[in-house]
């Protein structure tokens, strides 16, 4: 692709706009700065979530009380879940890398509505503060689990309202980001950049944006109803007034199942960028990957009931949901096959992002395949709401989205900060982290199959062994995490200067300097007829 170096412009990190210092960031409408704002705020929330996770594991080290009371434990997994889902992995890759890269990858100077983009971040922050307010003030930290199941969620005496409104506002932020991306992709592609030439990361952002747009309002209104229920006792979900608690679950999962694909799709997109780059080879099955992205986005909308197999649905609904759950697994399988085939006859350059990418594939397979167990009716009845489910979703949410996030940050780090990290430390961090991960979550499958229910503060002696191992793993994982973070933070300030295209990538972001100038391109690029994002 033709390169247009905007050497004359200041780069976006040093650029001085209307405001100086901090204000120059939090009032900046530059998509790159907003991406970094998300990165920093998410990193803070993520660290809180991680600490809560470690605290839970410490509590579960032995039966009985270890470090906290039952009430604290219940509040801990609730807050852990809410933070991790609503504040880290749902905004996750789109808000950070989507914001940073989308305009560059389609040859535009910014997103379609830069001010709205900044507003989304403000909403995000507002939502975060509301949820935090629920923790610090009022009658007690929410203790319902991140699922807010009725009727417990309006029976508990804890501080639900701020948490609910916080989640609502976070949802709004997510909707606005999705809307912005859709318009951007539709309207701002540079000349010659046809749909069939978009990079795969952009495609996944497109699919994700649709889910964000169409699914998030559902959870918004559902949470508002729970709030109204608490305030006025309307009766919508209260069995005492004729409401149906199972309907609440339907509505919750109508959002929250598609939400898991909001988390994983951009992650898959990032992997689809990294593998061709480090194999120096055209992606295998470009069209098939796009089709599977859209299939996941669409079919993923129709399978929500697999979280409710034991809830008391009709048989017909159970068969339907189980069958469709299996169908939605197939596009994921297609992606895995295509990624591995991309490596075939490539010229593989093993670097940190590539390590993360292959470990992503590995843990994603484990997470996904355990999802198949859960999708089968008979097996689900047995392991639903046990540690097995906890194992499944940590493998796939954290192992999937989390690993892809790390892959992405190591891949685009030189572009974002204009500096290179210490590769040796990055690799050490990766190996420690991965070992810790496997030790932490693998025992959960075993515990689940032994019958240990989830959300258990205390457990019977027979579950002790698995829990010890798991807690032990959490410490290894944390060590790896610290190595990685320290390395990245240090390198962002003091690393070696990075080249424009250190990995020899072919997508448009590698044609602009590192870090990119304020307006990305001096001149909007033009894509030639026979050019494509993965032509090596």
């Amino acid at each position: 692709m033709q390169s247009t170096n905007a050497v004359n412009q200041a780069n976006y990190l040093e650029y001085r706009g209307r405001f100086k210092g901090l204000f120059g960031w939090i009032f900046s409408t530059d998509h790159k700065r907003i991406g970094l704002l998300y990165l920093y705020s998410m990193a803070v929330m993520f660290s809180v979530g991680v600490l809560l996770g470690l605290a839970m594991k410490l509590e579960l080290l032995a039966p009985g009380k270890t470090i906290m009371d039952a009430q604290d434990y219940n509040a801990t997994f609730t807050v852990h879940g809410v933070i991790m889902i609503f504040m880290v992995v749902v905004p996750g890759l789109p808000a950070v890398f989507g914001n940073f890269l989308l305009p560059i990858m389609i040859g535009a100077k910014d997103v379609a509505f830069p001010k709205l983009n900044l507003l989304s971040w403000w909403f995000y922050v507002a939502g975060v503060f509301l949820v935090l307010a629920a923790l610090l003030f009022g009658p007690g930290t929410p203790d319902t689990g991140w699922t807010f199941y009725a009727p417990y969620s309006f029976k508990t005496g804890t501080n639900m309202l701020p948490a609910i409104f916080g989640a609502f506002i976070l949802g709004f932020s997510s909707i606005l980001t999705g809307l912005n991306f859709l318009v951007t992709i539709h309207r701002m592609r540079c000349p010659g950049l046809k749909w069939s030439k978009l990079s795969l990361f952009v495609w996944t952002l497109y699919g994700t944006a649709w889910i964000q747009l169409l699914a998030t309002p559902v959870v918004g209104i559902t949470l508002v109803l729970v709030a109204l229920e608490r305030l006025f006792g309307v009766g919508i979900f209260d069995p005492a007034l004729g409401g149906d608690p199972i309907l609440y679950q339907h509505l919750f999962w109508i959002y929250s199942h598609p939400a898991v694909y909001i988390m994983i799709l951009p992650a898959m997109g990032a992997i689809s960028e990294i593998i061709p780059t480090f194999s120096q080879k055209h992606i295998f099955g470009y069209k098939a990957i796009i089709a599977s992205t859209m299939a996941i986005a669409f079919v993923g909308y129709l399978v929500w009931g697999h979280h409710m197999f034991t809830a008391g649905m009709s048989g017909t609904a159970q068969y339907y949901f189980s069958l469709l759950t299996f169908l939605v697994a197939i596009p994921s399988a297609i992606k895995v096959f295509n990624w591995i085939s991309t490596m075939y006859k490539g010229s593989i350059n093993i670097q940190t992002p590539f390590y993360w990418a292959i470990s992503f594939i590995f843990v994603f397979m484990i997470g996904g395949l355990s999802g198949l167990v859960l999708g089968a009716l008979a097996a689900n009845i047995y392991v639903h709401d046990t540690a097995f489910v906890v194992g499944h979703f940590h493998y796939i949410v954290f192992g999937g989205t989390g690993f892809a996030f790390f892959a992405a940050i190591h891949y685009w780090f030189p572009k974002i900060f204009g500096r290179m990290y210490d590769k040796a430390w990055a690799n050490i961090g990766w190996i420690v982290f991965t070992i810790g991960f496997l030790t932490l979550y693998s025992p959960m499958f075993y515990l689940g199959m032994m019958g240990m229910p989830r959300r258990y503060y205390d457990y019977l002696e027979e579950f002790h062994g698995g829990n010890i191992l798991s807690t032990f793993g959490s410490w290894i994982l944390a060590t790896g995490f610290i190595i990685i973070i320290v390395n990245l933070v240090r390198s962002a300030r003091r690393g070696e200067k990075a080249e424009m295209n250190p990995w020899k990538g072919k997508t448009l972001e590698w044609t602009v300097p590192s870090p990119p100038p304020v307006e990305n391109f001096d001149e909007i690029p033009e894509i030639a007829e026979d050019d494509g994002p993965y032509n090596y």
Partner: protein, 206 residues
């Protein structure tokens, strides 16, 4: 897309803002759509009670509100034509009519709700819990939530229209840059469509 030479921030793309608005409308549709899901489930489960309760609502007020809302939809649609024909006074007049009708709608709503409150029918009230069946409680719960949310959207729409009128008056929105007006129209029509469904579901099917 042709080459954009000026800074991206003040570049004007009518189609972008239009699809932006449409996408926003989609989220609103789903928001209400889910309430319709709840409504239909509970209607299915409490068939008779819903019939009984719906009879309590005043079809006449509902019909009046439906009609005036339709008229307001037309006036705001016409105002776009007026703007495109560079007829600024007519644009403002048509928008003004829409605005006034919106206010009238709210006033009607106020009296309607007021009457219900006087009869002790409001969410969580003692009358509801003591005299009505579960299905009827659900019906009124949904009635207040859905019409309330709709009224909230009317208010937002009114603010939107007011802003647009001000911009039209100041000449910031004109024939060459009419996207904002069209968007306020789209939004107002959305509010109308929702009412088109609310009206039969609550007032008509008795």
């Amino acid at each position: 897309m042709e080459k954009v030479t000026h800074a991206p921030h003040d570049h004007y793309d009518a189609e972008a803002s239009k699809i932006g608005m449409w996408l926003f409308i989609f989220t609103e549709l789903l928001l209400f759509g889910i309430l319709f899901v709840i409504y239909s489930v509970y209607r299915y489960l409490n068939h008779d009670a819903f019939h009984l309760a719906a009879a309590e609502l005043d079809t006449f007020t509902g019909a009046v509100n439906t009609l005036i809302l339709l008229v307001s939809s037309m006036t705001i649609a016409m105002s776009v034509t007026a703007l495109q024909k560079n007829n600024k006074p007519l644009t403002l007049l048509l928008n003004g009519i829409t605005f006034v009708i919106g206010v009238v709608f709210l006033v009607n709503k106020y009296f309607e709700w007021g009457a219900k409150f006087d009869h002790g029918i409001f969410p969580g009230s003692a009358t509801l819990a003591e005299t009505l069946s579960q299905g009827e409680i659900l019906f009124f719960g949904l009635y207040f939530i859905m019409t309330g949310l709709h009224a909230l959207h009317i208010i937002i729409g009114l603010v939107f229209i007011a802003v647009v009128m001000w911009k039209v008056a100041r000449g910031k929105v004109h024939a060459g840059r009419s996207a904002l007006l069209e968007n306020s129209g789209l939004y107002w029509h959305l509010v109308d469509i929702i009412w088109i469904f609310l009206f039969p579901l609550f007032y008509l099917i008795v």
